[in-house]
């Protein structure tokens, strides 16, 4: 027998993710795909297109919009939704603030990251979604390293890391009580490098802020932040223009840029392969405490 029957690691990861996405469509009544405009949620959307081809993705996309966005991300989102014929739902943090449902943080380090959780949970409740698909990866952060593919949430949307369901073989237990939901992470086993390599091989188009461009930035705690009307600067924080790109894309107030001249996917891959800091090293929302991510996840952050 000819044993040329093996997949390379990216094809194997792809097959696993497609299996998980199809499992969501089969096991849940009303799933939704959390779309942030970042490369990971772009990848999940792309894999979902493959999983259900030639049918359309059988669930809508949900964007939790902090109002503090990079315009490039919003443009990309709208074009993508149009192209693949998906339904887009937007949960607006600004609306929640205007309606007095949440109170905005004040000061130099003010961020809407924390408010996102409340708006996410409300959006899931309003839409009666029983599964929210996200692009989190286990290599990102130490609390996420313990996350399941199918992650059970109680009626308050909380995660109980000490009481997770064991997950064996390809058998995913999506059973739940009424009012509970699941978070599902199809790309759990991908690393940052895997994501970039795959996007490169598949020729997936990305928002241009992932590649080197000139931008007005300022320095804070060793990170470069975009000089934006949404971030209050201290008098000593003088903006300057330099060539940067973003390794992750989130809310503009907590996403740091890196100095880079990588202007295409191959150059980005070379840069990451030799990088000595993790991508979340540029995220100030993770630096608030040693267990910042775990604390937010328990409350319902994705």
């Amino acid at each position: 027998m000819d044993f040329n029957y093996n997949l390379n690691h990216l094809k194997e990861l792809e097959a696993e993710s497609i299996f998980v996405l199809r499992e969501v469509a089969a096991q849940f009544e009303n799933p939704v795909l959390l779309f942030s405009g970042g490369k990971d949620s772009i990848l999940v959307t792309y894999l979902a297109m493959k999983a259900f081809y030639p049918a359309r993705i059988p669930f809508p996309l949900l964007h939790i919009d902090t109002g503090h966005n990079f315009q490039e991300t919003i443009d990309y989102r709208d074009q993508l939704v149009e192209r693949i014929g998906a339904r887009l739902i937007v949960g607006s943090v600004q609306d929640a603030i205007d309606q007095g449902k949440v109170v905005e943080e004040k000061g130099y380090n003010a961020s809407r990251n924390f408010l996102q959780t409340a708006v996410l949970l409300e959006s899931l409740e309003n839409g009666k979604y029983d599964a929210a698909i996200g692009g989190a990866r286990r290599d990102e952060e130490k609390a996420r390293a313990k996350e399941r593919f199918f992650s059970h949430r109680d009626e308050f949307g909380q995660w109980d890391p000490k009481n997770q369901r064991p997950e064996l073989w390809n058998l995913f237990n999506g059973k739940k009580q009424i009012g509970e939901h699941f978070r599902v992470f199809p790309i759990s086993n991908w690393t940052e490098l895997d994501v970039w390599q795959y996007l490169s091989i598949e020729g997936v188009e990305l928002p241009n802020i992932y590649f080197a461009h000139e931008r007005e930035v300022f320095e804070r705690d060793g990170s470069l932040l975009a000089a934006s009307e949404f971030i209050q600067r201290r008098p000593t924080e003088i903006p300057f223009t330099t060539t940067v790109r973003f390794r992750t894309i989130g809310d503009i107030t907590c996403t740091g840029a890196v100095r880079s001249h990588a202007s295409n996917l191959d150059e980005v891959i070379d840069e990451i392969a030799t990088s000595r800091v993790t991508e979340r090293g540029t995220r100030s929302d993770d630096k608030r405490s040693e267990t910042a991510m775990e604390d937010r996840k328990k409350q319902g952050y994705f």
Binding site: N8, A15, A26, Y53, D139, K142, A145, K162, T191
Partner: protein
């Protein structure tokens, strides 16, 4: 790096902090340059705060607050590193009370199990337990890492004695491929670089082994099995009559034109086409996710199975199963549970508890029918509808089940069909 040809290898590590497991993982991550500066800095700071003089690499894997506070690992943690040849996924399982449950979980998808033995103490109860679970879960390759060789003067005699001792009990186990490597995770001997201290050892280093062990035949390529996961019907003008059966190949090789039988109906037809987003594919094999189209218009649904007509699984409602029990509430004889198998779901009743297996002595206790958390037992199940299954030894995908408590929805057991 030629990432277009690199394979994926999943391995599990079992053992206590005392065995040097965290040090070993730390060493593999560090020497393969998979620990980043900000991670190392965070661990350094945390170690200092805890008043520890050296950087505690265990903090890299212990991510949750309770784990850091109590210095224990609660759950399976997944770690990633890669070399130019392969990408590795480590399922790092802890060694305390919930040990069996976690190791079974980590082992269920692993190609390789690393068993750590302290050179000073040799084969202990825990070594036997780890090895037994690896064989129960049919991990194809076992590597016995005899660690802390630096503390026994890198003695060949110590190594040989432990190897002999291990072989003496492992012949009773169902493991096909066992390797022994003398290492010092702390000093780096035989991890990435060949040890200068053990010239008597002619075998490979641990990393070399992990990069080169043949995993191409870990899947079953013989018995074609395709459980239907989801039915794709686009309902648009372009694909008006399209009806595709989406799923992951559980075993065997599927080709266009193959004679297939549909279960449970027993109808026969041929494979008309195997589809993917990128277009038609000539063949499908595990672990590919594809969409199969049939020549005749039968109405299959999730849980049905497409199999080769001349090679069919057992179709039945009575199962003999080895289980590992996961829940605080013990297994109930005559109790009813939901059962998940491939993409099928049914209910089942526990008809009999044959015996409880002592994982340390391998003794079969036919009188003790109290199956508690972390126990291994052989039981008999009767399902509400027929399942299409193979023995777990022959096929991990069509031979595995989980049991779910119908009241709490918790996964209460993992089972391997005999």
């Amino acid at each position: 790096m030629d990432f277009k040809h690199s394979e994926l290898l999943r391995f599990t590590t079992a053992g206590n902090v005392d065995d040097g497991k965290s040090t070993l993982i730390g060493r593999l991550l560090y020497d393969s340059k998979s620990i980043f500066e900000d991670q190392l800095e965070a661990v350094q700071k945390a170690s200092e705060r805890r008043g520890e003089s050296e950087v505690n690499l265990a903090l890299l894997t212990d991510g949750l607050k309770a784990e850091r506070e109590q210095g224990i690992t609660i759950d399976v943690a997944y770690r990633y590193f890669s070399t130019p040849k392969r990408k590795f996924i480590i399922a790092d399982t802890p060694g305390h009370t919930q040990y069996t449950r976690n190791m079974v979980t980590g082992a269920s998808t692993a190609n390789v199990a690393l068993i750590l033995v302290d050179a000073r103490t040799g084969v202990v109860e825990q070594t036997r337990r780890h090895s037994f679970i690896a064989s129960l879960l049919q991990i194809p390759h076992l590597v016995v890492c005899i660690n802390k060789m630096d503390l026994v003067d890198y003695s060949e005699e110590v190594y040989n004695n432990i190897k002999e001792e291990f072989e003496k009990f492992s012949y009773k186990l169902d493991v096909k491929d066992v390797h022994f490597i003398p290492i010092s995770a702390l000093k780096g001997d035989n991890i990435v670089d060949r040890s200068q201290n053990m010239p008597w050892y002619g075998g490979s280093t641990l990393l070399y082994y992990l990069e080169n062990v043949h995993i191409g035949s870990d899947h079953n390529f013989i018995d074609a099995r395709f459980p239907v996961q989801f039915v794709i019907r686009p309902n648009n003008d372009e694909f008006h009559d399209y009806r595709g059966y989406a799923g992951r190949v559980a075993a065997g090789i599927l080709k266009k034109g193959d004679d297939v039988t549909l279960l449970p109906s027993g109808f026969t037809t041929k494979i008309a086409k195997i589809d993917s987003h990128a277009g038609e594919v000539a063949e499908a094999f595990p672990p590919m996710s594809v969409t199969v189209l049939l020549e005749d218009d039968y109405d299959l649904s999730r849980g049905d199975m497409i199999v080769r007509t001349h090679n069919q699984p057992t179709v039945g409602q009575d199962l003999e199963v080895m289980i590992c029990w996961f829940n605080e509430r013990p297994l109930q004889l005559n109790g009813k549970y939901a059962i998940l198998h491939t993409t099928q779901q049914a209910r089942c009743v526990v008809k009999d508890i044959r015996y409880r297996l002592d994982v340390n002595s391998l003794h079969r206790d036919v009188d003790d029918k109290n199956i508690r958390m972390n126990d291994i037992a052989r039981i008999v199940l009767r399902t509400t509808k027929p399942l299409f299954f193979d023995p777990y030894r022959r096929n991990r995908n069509t031979g595995s089940i989980i049991l779910v408590d119908e009241g709490t929805n918790e996964t209460v057991a993992a089972g391997m069909i005999i």
